[in-house]
């Protein structure tokens, strides 16, 4: 019994509320009525992620994509599309007033472009054969047999690839510095010390496609004349480490790594160095110190690692995502790569989309994609009908982008221009329930813990900024705290030794610039509009409304609510922990949050 058609009805919560379920039933009913039940299967699916046009119905294998479907449309879908094999034109998703037929053609799907993640989720990361089948090691092949060192640098230059670790330094330039230095020993190092809260792009890449990074590092070795490399990866990534180890062994066994690669006189080998998870070790000089067995602390640049790096030798150091781009740049050419992205930022960027977003996940979009496209098209918007408040890009080094910047193209330079930064690719979405003082405090807390403690502006500044934010969140802030934070922030940006300290004040400064009103509410009004700052919230019982049902008293985890049955209850403010359990459990609206 072969089914001819599959009819997919979106079953996401938004569609559910928009009658997805009714449409489903209606379709079943119509199929029965029109006698085609055995020819098709009607399936309720997860969210298509395109809720603004929901409910959505998709018919396979025709790939007919119907939007804003109503239950009464079921009849026509069955009779036209299934019975007669003609698409229902009026329901098809239209864009730019041009009817389009295939899901692949809809902008929603076009938003993503997978270069870095080209193999992730597709191939078995533990099989080198599958990697090779998808043109793996083709770049290495070209680099070894058809290209000179200069050719490789030139190809990178044409591609316009910029480092994906955060700062966006042109990769071709980095490689050419190392290439040009004379030295008896050079190294290639991969920075896999991903540590931003909410960022896991590199982990996913290494877990899903370890060979892409290995291949790139061998190409780098060939380009700059290095025969040794190291992947510095945090020990918290056991699966990525495991898969890298397998991949390295396979590459060695096949003669793609080690002595005389593919029979040439070029040799290159790699080792894995485990990091203990210090955020600062993502800073390249601290990372190199850590590989050398020293405490992970940054040193001033120049000299740059490209000239004086690991064990004092010229070292190419790039992060996972940067490397993962390189095999395809070499195999398909820099010009091909440069077709993606914007003038100043070529290619794609992988983001880990998290926070108050429907479709949290790992996405890869061409540089220049707007925040709106990422948050609302790909991410599916904010769950629960809440209002979008902002997106933190660049993690603890970046800033908040509010709706004002939704149409800013995401690339290195535009983000800097609006006071944030690309960072490594964490994107945390915030909604109206998030308190910006709380958010800034969260990031500062992270930096307080992760500051290596070497330089004074960062070591002391992070702590002092955190303390002031804490004061504000407790309603004890003073107006001159704003100036103090700005002063310290400015000094930290300019006088901190490394990127961690230089960017640590960004979340605070960004909140001060963008959400000053909200901060002032905390200071002057002693009020936190989202209720996140617990010290500014008070739960009280509205005597008139309380019927003395005792539910809240039973729910209270600290037993600070007392009262006789059928008598209005009282909350003991001195022991209340402001968990909100009473508010949530009261059926009579008798708990007042103020």
């Amino acid at each position: 019994m072969a089914v001819k058609n599959y009819v997919l009805v979106c079953g996401g919560s938004a569609c559910e509320s928009a009658k997805g379920n009714e449409i489903y039933k209606s379709l079943l009913h119509q199929a029965e009525n029109q006698g085609v039940s055995s020819d098709l299967q009607i399936v309720k699916t997860g969210c298509f992620g395109f809720c603004e046009k929901g409910p959505i119905v998709k018919v396979l294998p025709d790939e007919a994509f119907y939007v804003e479907v109503k239950p009464e449309d079921a009849e026509e879908i069955i009779s036209e599309n299934i019975v007669k094999g003609r698409m229902v034109d009026r329901l098809l998703y239209k864009e730019d007033s041009k009817a389009e037929f295939k899901a692949e053609d809809i902008k929603f799907y076009q938003k993503q472009e997978r270069i870095v993640l080209r193999n992730c989720g597709l191939i078995d990361p533990e099989s080198i054969d599958e990697y090779i089948a998808r043109d793996g090691y083709l770049g290495l092949e070209k680099a070894l047999f058809e290209m000179s060192s200069d050719d490789i640098v030139n190809e990178l230059k044409k591609s316009g690839l910029r480092g994906r670790g955060g700062a966006g330094f042109p990769t071709s330039l980095k490689w050419s510095f190392t290439q040009r230095v004379e030295s008896d020993q050079k190294y290639v190092v991969c920075n896999a010390d991903e540590g931003d809260p909410g960022a896991y792009m590199d982990r996913a890449t290494l877990e899903g496609d370890p060979h892409s990074v290995i291949e790139a590092m061998i190409i780098a070795g060939k380009c700059v004349g290095a025969d040794k490399g190291a992947i510095y990866i945090r020990a918290e990534y056991p699966l990525a480490i495991h898969r890298l180890e397998i991949a390295m062994a396979q590459a060695r066994e096949k003669g793609l790594m080690g002595e005389n690669i593919l029979g040439t006189d070029f040799s290159f080998d790699l080792e894995i160095r485990l990091g203990a998870g210090a955020f600062v070790c993502g800073e390249e000089t601290a990372l190199l110190a850590s590989i050398e067995g020293k405490r992970g602390m940054p040193i001033p640049k120049p000299p740059f690692p490209a000239v004086k790096g690991l064990f004092g030798k010229p070292t190419v150091i790039n992060n996972v995502e940067t490397f993962a781009n390189i095999p395809v740049i070499i195999s398909k050419g820099g010009d091909w790569f440069a077709e993606y992205g914007t003038e100043g930022s070529k290619g794609t960027k992988v983001f880990a989309l998290t926070g108050k977003i429907k479709n949290s996940g790992l996405i890869e979009v061409p540089m220049g994609t707007t925040l709106r496209e990422i948050v609302f098209d790909i991410g599916g918007g904010i769950p629960g009908g809440k209002k979008f408040k902002g997106v933190q890009t660049g993690g603890p080094s970046g800033g908040v982008l509010t709706d004002e910047f939704l149409d800013t193209p995401i690339d290195f330079d535009s983000l800097l221009a609006v006071g944030s930064m690309m960072g490594s690719g964490g994107m945390i979405v915030m909604d109206e329930d998030d308190c910006m003082v709380d958010v800034a405090k969260f990031y500062l807390d992270f930096c307080v813990e992760e500051s290596c403690g070497k330089c004074a502006p960062c070591r002391i500044g992070t702590k002092k900024l955190y303390e002031i934010l804490e004061k504000i969140s407790q309603g004890k802030g003073e107006m001159d705290d704003l100036d103090k934070m700005r002063d310290m922030g400015a000094a930290m940006k300019k006088a901190s030794l490394c990127g961690l300290g230089q960017t640590a004040p960004n979340p605070v400064l960004s909140v001060l610039n963008t959400f000053e009103e909200e901060v002032l509410e905390h200071i002057q009004g002693g009020k936190c509009r989202s209720g996140k700052c617990k010290d500014l919230v008070q739960y009280t019982v509205i005597e008139d409304k309380c019927i003395g049902c005792t539910v809240c008293a039973r729910k209270c985890p600290v037993n600070c609510i007392s009262g006789e049955r059928k008598v209005a209850h009282v909350i003991d403010q001195s022991s209340c922990v402001k968990c909100g359990a009473c508010y949530d459990s009261c059926k009579f609206g008798a708990i007042l949050v103020s």
Binding site: Q41, C47, C120, G255, L262
Partner: protein, 129 residues
């Protein structure tokens, strides 16, 4: 395998490409890809994999290739499983637990029907060109 030369590498690549193409066209083999990144595993992908292997064994079906892959990017619906069966649309299932895993084998692979409620039609396959 011993160390390869350039010719060996090219030959291997061609063979593997053909193998992949053949699997897609000759209509015999179904392919199940289990997303086994840290995110998938944390959400239970390993158990899902075991259940599927068990279930296929019980059904005496050796016509299915199960393999792992890294993260597909759909973190909000992990564990994710992609099923490619000739003659059926490539499908990504999300939020797959042991029950759904059994359903995928019994309903999708054997009965050749999609499994209700767990189809996530926003898959990587659509996106990757």
């Amino acid at each position: 395998m011993s160390k390869m030369t350039l010719e060996d590498l090219r030959k291997l690549r061609e063979t593997k490409k053909q193998e992949a193409a053949q699997r897609d066209s000759d209509g015999k083999d179904s392919l199940i890809i289990v997303g086994m990144g840290t995110c998938g595993i944390a959400a239970g992908a390993k158990d899902v994999l075991d259940v599927m292997l068990d279930e296929l064994k019980k059904a005496g079906n050796d016509n299915v290739i199960i393999r792992q892959a890294g993260c597909m990017g759909l973190c909000h619906v992990e564990p994710t499983i992609e099923v490619r069966t000739p003659g059926m649309p490539d499908t990504i299932y999300g939020k797959v637990d042991a029950k759904v895993a059994k359903d995928i084998v019994n309903i999708h692979i054997i009965d050749r029907k999609l499994v209700n409620e767990h189809v996530y039609d926003k898959p990587a396959a659509d996106i990757i060109k």
